[in-house]
C-alpha cells in the first residue's frame, strides 16, 4: 500500500502526537501528578482528541464552524477539567464533590452546545461571535458552584461585582458588533483587554483563599 503526501504527513504528525503524549505522561507519573494506572487513559485520550480534531478538519476545513465548535469543546472538556479543577483539588487549593460537579459541568456543557446549534444559521460573522458569547455564559453556574458554594473563595459581594463586570464586557462586545459595526479583529482585541481585570482579580482571590486556608492570612475578610 503506497501512501500519498497527505497520508504521509498525517502519519508523521501522529507519531509526533504519540511522542508528546508519552513524554508528557512520563513526566506526570514521575512527579506524582497521576498514578501509573491512569497513564494509559491519558495517552489514549490524548491520541483520541488529536484524531477526532483531524477527522473534523478533513471534513470541514476551516468552515463551516459549528460542527467543529460543537464537537471540539466536548472532546476538549476533559483537558479543561484536568488542567484546572483536577489540579485545584489534587493540590488541595479547593474542595469539591466530584459527582455534583461532573453532572453540573456536563449539563451546562450540553446547554452551551445546544445554544450554538440553535444559532447555527446566523449570518457570518455573528455565527462565530454571538454563539461564543452566549455559550460562554453556560459555564457560569458551575464556576459559581466551585467558588461560592463548595468553597468560599468569593464573598457574595465580590461574586456579584465580578458577574456585573462580565455583563458589562458582554454588553460592550454586543455594542461593538451591532452599534459600532467594528471588525472582529478589533472586537477580539478589546475583549482580550477586558479579560485582564476579572482574571487578575479572580487569581488574587483564589490565591488569598488558599493562603488563608494554609494559615498565612489570619484575617477572614476579603
Amino acid at each position: 500500500m503506497s501512501m500519498g503526501p497527505v497520508e504521509t504527513g498525517l502519519m508523521i504528525y501522529a507519531a509526533v502526537t504519540l511522542y508528546w503524549s508519552l513524554l508528557g505522561t512520563y513526566m506526570l507519573v514521575k512527579t506524582d501528578v497521576i498514578s501509573v494506572k491512569a497513564a494509559p487513559i491519558i495517552i489514549g485520550y490524548s491520541l483520541f482528541a488529536w484524531l477526532t480534531s483531524r477527522i473534523m478538519y478533513i471534513n470541514f476545513p476551516e468552515i463551516p464552524p459549528h460542527p467543529i465548535l460543537i464537537l471540539s469543546r466536548v472532546v476538549d472538556s476533559p483537558q479543561g477539567i484536568l488542567t484546572t479543577i483536577y489540579v485545584y483539588v489534587r493540590t488541595k487549593v479547593i474542595k469539591i464533590k466530584w459527582m455534583p460537579y461532573i453532572i453540573g459541568y456536563s449539563f451546562f456543557l450540553a446547554v452551551s452546545r445546544i445554544t450554538m446549534y440553535l444559532l447555527r444559521d446566523l449570518p457570518v460573522p455573528e455565527i462565530l461571535v454571538l454563539p461564543t458569547l452566549l455559550a460562554g455564559w453556560a459555564g457560569y453556574p458551575v464556576w459559581f458552584y466551585v467558588y461560592t458554594k463548595a468553597n468560599r473563595v468569593f464573598t457574595p459581594k465580590a461574586a456579584y461585582a465580578l458577574a456585573s463586570y462580565q455583563v458589562i464586557v458582554w454588553a460592550v462586545s454586543i455594542i461593538m458588533l451591532y452599534q459600532l459595526g467594528l471588525p472582529y479583529s478589533i472586537i477580539s482585541s478589546v475583549q482580550m483587554l477586558m479579560e485582564y481585570p476579572s482574571t487578575i482579580v479572580t487569581l488574587i482571590l483564589v490565591d488569598r483563599y488558599r493562603l488563608r486556608n494554609l494559615g498565612v492570612y489570619a484575617s477572614d475578610e476579603l
Binding site: 503526501p5 488529536w50 468552515i63 479543561g80 493540590t91 457570518v124 482580550m192 476579572s198 493562603l211
Partner: protein, 184 residues
Amino acid sequence: MYVEYEGLWVAGGTWIFTFAYMYWVWEDSQRHKKRVWIWLLLLLLAGDPFSTLVGEVRTLGDPFSTFVSNFYRYEYLPSRGIYPYLVPLFKYDASHFVEPIWVLDTIFFWNLALSLVDGTVTYAVMFWIYRDCRKVGERATPWICVMRFIQNPPFPIGYLIPLGGYTGQIFVLVAYILRKFGYI
C-alpha cells in the same frame, strides 16, 4: 502540497505539559505557602490556557497579536466586506495533492523537527528543575513560570528579548545551576 492544508498539520499531546506544569506550580506554592498569582499571570500572558470565573478555557495573551491573527482569519473576512463564502465550499480531496512541492515540504518538516527539539529541551529542563527543587526543598515556581514566559512572551517583549525556542531554557538552566552551587 502540504502547506495548503496548513490547519491540518497540528500535533496533539502538548496539553499534557500544560497540565503538568500547572500542577507543579500550584503544588510547589502550596508546599512553600507562597503567593502564586503573579507567577500565574506570567503563564497567562505567555498564552497558556486557564479557566477563570468566566468558565471557558481561555488565555490572556496580548491584544496586538490577537488583532493580527484575527485580521487574517478568513472566517472573519466578511466583517471587513470580503465574502469568501460566495465561492463553493472547499472539500477535502487527496487527489489535489499529486505533486508535493518538495522545497516547501522540506522547510515545513524541518520546522517540525526543530519544534520537537525545542519542546523536548524546554519540558525536560522544567521537569528536572521541578524535581530538583522538590528534592532540596527550594521553590520551583519562579523558574517554571519564567521559562514558560520567555518561550512565548507577549508582543513586543519577544522582539526585545529574543529568547524563544530552547535558547532561553538554556539560560535559565545555567542560572539555576549557578544559583544551586552558590555562584549567584
